[in-house]
């Protein structure tokens, strides 16, 4: 009567937890990037330690890397500031010194950390996966127990391949119904966060289940799991099924031959038992889901695009509306847009770009809008160009960039101008997240694209 969360946990306990001490949990895959790893490598050097399992460690450069084209370190130095260049050089040196595979800026496998793991097939059901990045929850879409950690813990995992953890409580979110036209995986997760609040998942790992989840592609499932942390839960899991297996079948690092057959057998044992119990359950019917947009300064401040902005119930909400230059009872539709960003570990995958391009084909980005399209990885960029998506974006007046976190975190040269309003497919609408005084409206790729065409926050359903 175990849930998938129980099964994943139990399979990785090196030493069980007691009243006095947390469990020691083994980590199957440790992803690292340039921003949250330097101080962890310094710790290893100070203590004269090695990386215990470089074979279970994969590194990328994504957060502070510019999305303008460059081919050499010299070219990078010309387009980026000194601090990010130093940080990028440091991860190159660290990975060289400690024997870690780094997908550097000239690798065909490079990209955002939560995009390349699945693309390479190294993200697999049954694994424990950690990274010094809160959106590590993305990998839970494969039936892995995946969560973000701090830099001290990055050091622990580098040195011992293990972590000290208390088992999280379990939370089942049942999503049923057929998703209507114009609504997407992004709208599902924004709806969930709106329902339970930005702290609703604190202390829990969430399992997303139900017919609406089963019908999603792997890319859509990743979008759902990605934003689990925005509801306060560190991990979000979706049980593996044929969709998962089909996705992984041809990936370079997925098991092959006899190993594949054995892996499938194991993976099929992972879904929650029929009468598994959870500490908390919630059901949401998505049959009438509208495109969702945020109006405040956290992802829980979210409404259907056809609903008015709710009234502020406390000082924090009033402060958020003031920051956003918005008023309660007004509609977000019609609010003038300065920037549209398509990308990030939430919505920077090929299907996201395809959805956006489909809407944009034959139309123009409104002259008052800067639209930035940033593929999540080199592989996505190459595939998108092979099917001509880049031409659609460029002809419509959008910018087509190199892979990276870009305007989601705005520490790489891409940012929203001061006070500007962005409709963004990323994951956080915090104050200043996308630039100084930048105002972020989180939305799906098609809502963002419709807004780019119209020049104001717009309902995508008018175009489909």
């Amino acid at each position: 009567m175990n849930s998938i969360i129980d099964k994943l946990w139990d399979a990785h306990v090196v030493k069980p937890e007691t009243d006095e001490t947390p469990a020691i949990i083994f980590i199957d895959l440790h992803l690292i990037h340039e921003v949250t790893s330097p101080q962890a490598f310094s710790l290893l050097r100070d203590k004269n330690l090695k990386v215990r399992r470089p074979d279970l460690t994969l590194a990328t450069m994504d957060h502070s890397i510019p999305t303008l084209p460059f081919k050499t370190m010299q070219e990078l130095e010309q387009i980026a500031d000194e601090a990010p260049v130093k940080q990028l050089k440091q991860i190159i040196q660290n990975c060289k010194d400690f024997g870690i595979d780094l997908k550097t800026f000239d690798s065909p496998d490079r990209g955002i950390v939560h995009i390349i793991g699945p693309e390479l097939g190294i993200t697999q059901p049954g694994k424990t996966i950690v990274c010094g990045d809160s959106h590590t929850s993305t990998h839970g879409a494969f039936g892995a127990l995946a969560f973000g950690i701090g830099t001290t813990e990055v050091g622990h995992v580098l040195a011992t391949q293990c972590m000290l953890q208390r088992k999280p409580k379990t939370f089942a979110i049942n999503l049923d119904g057929v998703l209507p036209k114009g609504a997407s995986a992004k709208d599902i997760i924004l709806k969930v966060i709106g329902e339970i609040g930005v702290d609703g998942g604190t202390g829990y790992a969430i399992e997303y289940r139900g017919s609406a989840i089963r019908s999603l592609s792997m890319e859509e499932r990743m979008t759902v799991c990605n934003m689990t942390i925005e509801a306060g839960a560190r991990a979000g899991v979706i049980a593996p099924d044929d969709t998962t297996f089909e996705y992984l079948a041809d990936k370079p690092l997925s098991p092959k031959g006899k190993d594949w057959d054995e892996a499938i057998n194991y993976w099929k044992s992972l879904p929650s038992d029929e009468n598994a119990t959870f500490d908390r359950e919630l059901s949401i019917d998505v049959s009438n889901l509208s495109p969702m947009v945020t109006y405040g300064t956290n992802p829980g401040m979210v409404v259907s695009i056809d609903s008015p902005i709710p009234s502020a119930k406390n000082d924090s909400a009033s402060k958020a509306l003031k920051y956003m230059h918005l008023e309660s009872d007004a509609s977000l539709q019609g609010e003038k847009v300065d920037v549209v960003f398509i990308g990030s570990c939430t919505n920077g995958r090929l299907s996201d770009l395809e959805e956006s391009a489909k809407l944009l084909k034959g139309k123009k980005v409104n002259p008052s809008v800067r639209m930035l399209v940033v593929p999540g990885s080199q592989s996505i960029k190459d595939k998108a160009e092979a099917i001509g998506l880049d031409k659609i974006f460029i002809e419509a007046g959008a910018e087509w960039r190199e892979p990276g976190c870009s305007m989601c975190i705005a520490m790489n040269g891409d940012f929203v101008p001061e006070g500007g309003l962005a409709v963004s497919t990323s994951n956080r609408n915090f104050e200043g997240r996308q630039g100084s005084k930048a105002r972020t409206v989180l939305a799906s790729p098609i809502t963002a694209t419709a807004s780019a065409i119209m020049g104001h926050v717009a309902d995508p359903r008018q175009f489909i």
């Binding site: 090196v14 330097p38 010094g132 000082d315 200043g432």
Partner: protein, 192 residues
Amino acid sequence: MEKISHINSKTVSLPLSDIDTDQIIPAKFLTTTTKDGLGKYLFSSWRYDDAGNLIEDFIINQIDPTTHQILVTGNNFGCGSSREHAPWALVDFGFKAVISTEIADIFFNNALKNGFIPIVVNHELHKYLLENSGVELAIDIEAQTLSIKDYDKVHFEIEPFAKFCLLNGVDQLGFLQNEIDLIHDFESKHGK
């Protein structure tokens, strides 16, 4: 890590809910490769105006960090990104503890690993503390009590291992390394 058993200090109230780690320290300051000197960037967007001058009426700019070392905030402090730069910045500024009705999971873990104490209290005490910014407060980690001027002594919860590490200055990495034989045994069987 240094041993920590008591914190005696005045509080400062920042009565906002859902203060995320992007507010604690914005991403543009994460290009550093060390932990040092991040206190000057703490709450940067709220402490400085566009020209980089201190905004005097923001409460954090009005306190002496050597006497006001306990931050009291609205619900759900530290949500968002996993950046450990958030507790590094708080500690470097001079803060030693945060009190709220809820503290986000990743921040909570990161805080304890840096000797910064996250304390969750009930709504009644929370309201009292928010309304009485600057009150003298004594945190006793061994006894798990908060002693507040003109208020009953209050018990607080702390995870036993975190408490043990704080009181004894235990480095959690050392604790893991002591179990390396168990880890080795696990590795030899795992996935087979």
